[in-house]
């Protein structure tokens, strides 16, 4: 049998044929396009239509952007140079970039101070955001608010030093009393801190020199994107702990605390932010004697913080509610007291669930800081709508300015959103 074909077959292949490359239309970009862009007739039509739309948009915007002028000194001059051609007049950005970023009254020779504070912000935020970094860096984070305050506002160095000392005293008292009971430690710490601050404020008045090392800048001189960043960072970082406290308070079994939290949250959530800002600007001015009124920046920070902490409290309450009851019972069965149970078992899980919601609030809040332009603070949008568009040089430039504002906000908000996605992946311990 084996010889049957010995004469009829001249050649028997004894090695495998080397695999040939896939046909051109079944591999590489062609295959990808066939699969993803032109899979069916309808699909192909949609692709062509989409490419056409993209082409239309780009062919209109790209020449406008790349043909833009950067060096003229007014819109009229731009128009003269362009001779009716359609192109951007970015000169407004080169002419007024400092006002857009720092406001129009911050002293020009002091721009380095907020810039340094901004760079330090990343150093300070890093250990909080990325917990693989050495924990020692948290010291920088703890010191950052005082450094940033000193850099941005300037003035006597004793004010931030005594503020810091107050926290130190408060923590010292807390750590010595907390073993008796959390409540005693907590309120004892707060009382000690307040005493330290009151003493410190007198000492600051006595110690402050007439010519401080860093020149003092009043907060009404601040503006531009700097103001948005300051409001956003301050309010988000303040409202997170307050929001957690409110959320826990709302779940408390003590009626007084519970109802204070419920009323606060429901009241604040029932009022639009713009109303609160008007209250901060307009109504509070009636309550303080003229001239001794609390700084407008501080008033606005308080109002925005109240607003966002109420929202964050509700988001965190959602996280708390999502935890199975067994988790609470497990904590109880281990003999943990309330602060321990919250710190070690409940909050880590609840906060993880709440991350998307919290980030959502943070992004929304950051963009909402532009609302302060309505109460005549010159944030980025306020600068554009007010002084820049009202100058005879630049009245009529809209796209370039608002596009620039959109770009700045997009960079920050997209960064926050990317970080939160990374954080969720990093914290994913379930098996989805």
């Amino acid at each position: 049998m084996s010889d049957t074909h010995a004469q009829s077959v001249a050649f028997v292949r004894d090695t495998a044929i080397p695999p040939s490359p896939a046909p051109a239309n079944a591999a590489g970009p062609v295959k990808w396009m066939r699969d993803n862009l032109f899979a069916t007739w309808a699909n192909a039509l949609l692709t062509v239509a989409a490419i056409y739309v993209i082409f239309l948009v780009l062919s209109a915007t790209l020449p406008w952007i790349f043909g833009g002028l950067w060096t003229t000194s007014s819109l009229a001059e731009c128009r003269e140079v362009l001779q009716g051609r359609s192109a951007a007049c970015f000169s407004v950005l080169t002419d007024r970039w400092n006002q857009l970023l720092f406001g129009f009254k911050y002293p020009v020779d002091l721009y380095w101070r907020p810039t340094v504070a901004f760079v330090l912000l990343f150093v300070a935020a890093a250990p909080v955001l990325f917990f693989d970094l050495p924990r020692k860096l948290l010291i920088v984070t703890a010191l950052y608010p005082f450094i940033a305050y000193y850099l941005i506002w300037g003035g006597t160095i004793w004010a931030p030093l005594f503020a810091l000392a107050g926290f130190g005293v408060g923590y010292y008292v807390y750590s010595h009393l907390v073993h008796r009971s959390f409540a005693i430690g907590f309120f004892g710490g707060i009382a000690a801190a307040i005493i330290a601050w009151v003493v410190g404020s007198y000492l600051t008045g006595a110690l402050a020199s007439e010519t401080p090392f860093l020149e003092a800048v009043p907060s009404r001189d601040m503006g531009g994107f700097m103001l948005n960043m300051m409001l956003g960072v301050t309010c988000v970082s303040l409202s997170l702990p307050i929001g957690i406290a409110l959320a826990l308070g709302r779940q408390s079994s003590m009626p007084l605390i519970k109802w204070i939290c419920v009323v606060f949250i429901e009241f604040i959530r029932g009022v639009p932010l713009i109303t609160l800002l008007f209250v901060a600007n307009v109504m509070l001015a009636y309550f303080f004697p003229p001239g001794s009124g609390v700084d407008l920046f501080l008033r606005v920070v308080i109002m925005i913080t109240m607003f966002s902490s109420a929202y964050i409290a509700e988001v965190i309450r959602g996280g708390l509610a999502a935890l199975p009851k067994g988790q609470y019972e497990a904590a109880d069965s281990l003999g943990l007291d309330y602060p321990q149970a919250m710190r070690l078992i409940i909050l880590p899980q609840a906060l993880k669930i709440s991350i998307p919601g919290i980030v959502n609030i943070a992004v929304g809040l950051f963009k909402d800081t532009t609302l302060v332009s309505v109460i005549s603070m010159f944030d980025l949008v306020g600068m554009i709508r007010g002084p820049i568009l009202a100058s005879t040089d630049w009245n009529g430039v809209y796209w370039e300015l608002l596009g620039f504002a959109a770009l700045l906000f997009f960079v920050v908000c997209y960064g926050i959103s990317q970080y939160s996605q990374w954080l969720e992946r990093r914290l994913a311990t379930d098996h989805r």
Partner: protein, 338 residues
């Protein structure tokens, strides 16, 4: 407990506000700075320039008052206010005076308890149309589409005007001036109507300003002027007569260029009284004799301020019109310095 704290704070605030209202002039002198409310930005009237310096027609009034009271035209803290915050800022004592193209109306003067000390710009509602529409009078606008800002007095004035002339129109409601500009240029409406100074400022930003005309009809009265709180007439007098000094200076031919020379060698007794070389007018106001001279020296007379900020040489290009001296057929008429 909480209630009593709040009431206590209210009482203190009320007392302090009452105390502040008693002597704004002394407060300003003690502070060494004038808190002046201005707009957050209106072309030609008030806006900070590239160096952060406030410039404009209303700003000049603030600076003139500061020059007169404090001897330093730069000793002004400009407090930007919006249309919504301006009156509370003044009523609460946050600012000493408001110079924010605010229309003098009965209810603002009487009900809101302010004193308008005078008029520094006579405005009125006007119409802007493209030239190729071929319209030369607002009465030819029968059936036109009109861009109009909602919720303003201009909306009501417009309805009154068209009804009185028995012609019809189609309103295109818009929210802000910027939006109006876009709508009007895109041809969404034939006519844009708002205050004439605003129309001129808007037109100045167009690529082709010559392609648009302002119609001659002015259909409402909008006297704009600085104002102070009720109940402090001394301070009101200071602001009123500083404004009058600027107007009188133009009438008498005193300008920032010749004010020094005039003060030294004038034979005109009114100029001498104005510039403080004769009489005690400054002393009566609680100021020194040179107050008006300093105001004119630093800011110029009314005509110079007008020409520098909104006049025909500027991109805004407003004609004097109603804002001419009474001797030239306008409405500017300052009471005599005597």
């Amino acid at each position: 407990m909480k209630k009593s704290v709040i009431f206590g704070a209210l009482t203190v605030a009320g007392l302090a506000a009452g105390a502040a209202a008693a002597g704004t002039l002394d407060d300003v002198k003690a502070r060494g700075k004038l808190n002046c409310g201005v707009t957050t930005g209106l072309v030609g009237f008030a806006a900070p320039d590239a160096n952060g310096e406030w410039k404009g027609f209303d700003v000049a009034v603030c600076r003139a008052v500061a020059a007169g009271v404090l001897g330093d035209a730069t000793a002004v803290e400009f407090v930007p206010t919006t249309g919504k915050t301006r009156f509370t800022a003044l009523a609460s004592g946050e600012i000493d005076m408001l110079a924010r193209n605010t229309t003098w109306t009965f209810s603002r003067d009487v009900d809101l308890k302010f004193d308008f000390v005078g008029v520094n710009y006579y405005d009125g509602q006007g119409f802007m149309v493209p030239k190729d529409l071929g319209v030369s009078s607002a009465k030819d606008l029968d059936g036109a589409t009109v861009c109009i800002q909602t919720g303003t007095t201009t909306e009501l004035n417009l309805a009154d005007f068209f009804r009185a002339n028995n012609i019809s129109y189609e309103p295109v409601p818009i929210e802000t001036n910027a939006e109006a500009q876009q709508q009007y240029l895109a041809g969404a409406c034939d006519v844009y109507t708002t205050d004439a100074s605003g129309l001129a400022a808007t037109r100045a930003t167009f690529e082709d300003p010559a392609g648009h005309t302002l119609l001659p009809e002015i259909i409402s009265k909008e006297p704009l002027g600085p104002l102070v709180r009720h109940g402090d007439s001394e301070w009101g007098d200071v602001v009123r007569w500083t404004l009058n000094a600027l107007i009188t200076a133009e009438e008498l031919g005193v300008s920032s260029a010749n004010v020094g020379e005039m003060a030294a060698s004038t034979n005109n007794p009114e100029i001498a009284r104005l510039l403080g070389t004769e009489g005690t007018l400054g002393e009566m106001l609680g100021l020194d004799a040179d107050w008006a001279k300093r105001a004119i020296e630093t800011q110029g007379n009314y005509g110079e301020i007008f020409a520098k900020n909104i006049g025909e040489e500027t991109p805004i290009g407003l004609a004097r019109g109603l804002n001419s001296q009474w001797t030239d057929g306008g409405l500017l008429y300052s009471p005599p310095f005597r």
